[in-house]
Symmetry: C2
Subunit: 139 residues, 2 copies
Amino acid sequence: MSTETGCAHCKGADEDRLWADETCRVVLVHETGFEGWCRVIWHDHIRELSDLTPKQRDHVMAVVSAVETGLIAKLAPVKINIASLGTAAPHLHFHVIPRFVDDPAFPDPVWLPAKRTSSRKLPDGFAQSMAIHLQQQLK
Amino acid sequence: MSTETGCAHCKGADEDRLWADETCRVVLVHETGFEGWCRVIWHDHIRELSDLTPKQRDHVMAVVSAVETGLIAKLAPVKINIASLGTAAPHLHFHVIPRFVDDPAFPDPVWLPAKRTSSRKLPDGFAQSMAIHLQQQLK
């Protein structure tokens, strides 16, 4: 496996992992005000989407889509945002972010300064039910 | 074809179109300081990635990847950013954005306020050579 010293996504410490296979993993990010934010992280230290083979690309996007359908089913967000930026951390990962009218940045991108605080909480058992959804969708 | 009145991506007016097939199109966005920014727009007024069939999803991501390899080959950016947000305009589209250390927001996401101005210009014939790249990659 290709790894790079100092890369947080290679290290993968302190992750709240919902699902994984031999190629990638899904983690729940605990970003204040943006409850339900997930990240799909390719295990290998790959830089760009186009560094994957077509088969690997189809697979990682199937995982992104399964995260999306889980978030829609369990949280009923207004919109899902998907982003693979990595400008500062060039290790392939996708943010999959449920958006709500009362989230801190809505309707702007989540990276903009907060306009409001959000008291939204995840429903009980969210992480476990997402894990079950991903297992069912991706088997 | 599914369209919605008032949706800019359904209308598709004044686009600098580089490539299209029966499902989606690639346009060059003229965003000051972010020369080379492309958008892959699904023709139908589809809301989320997971509204596509797996075959459609694989196809649109192959188009995104072909835009990425074209931008890398022609502009040698530091990093590519990919994002499908659509919080305000919920019609499936992907931003494919070449990032440079001297772009207005580097290394932050492009949506943050500009830190600097950029005098970067696209090389002569860029749009035409991207169009040829996409035709070759996606035939």
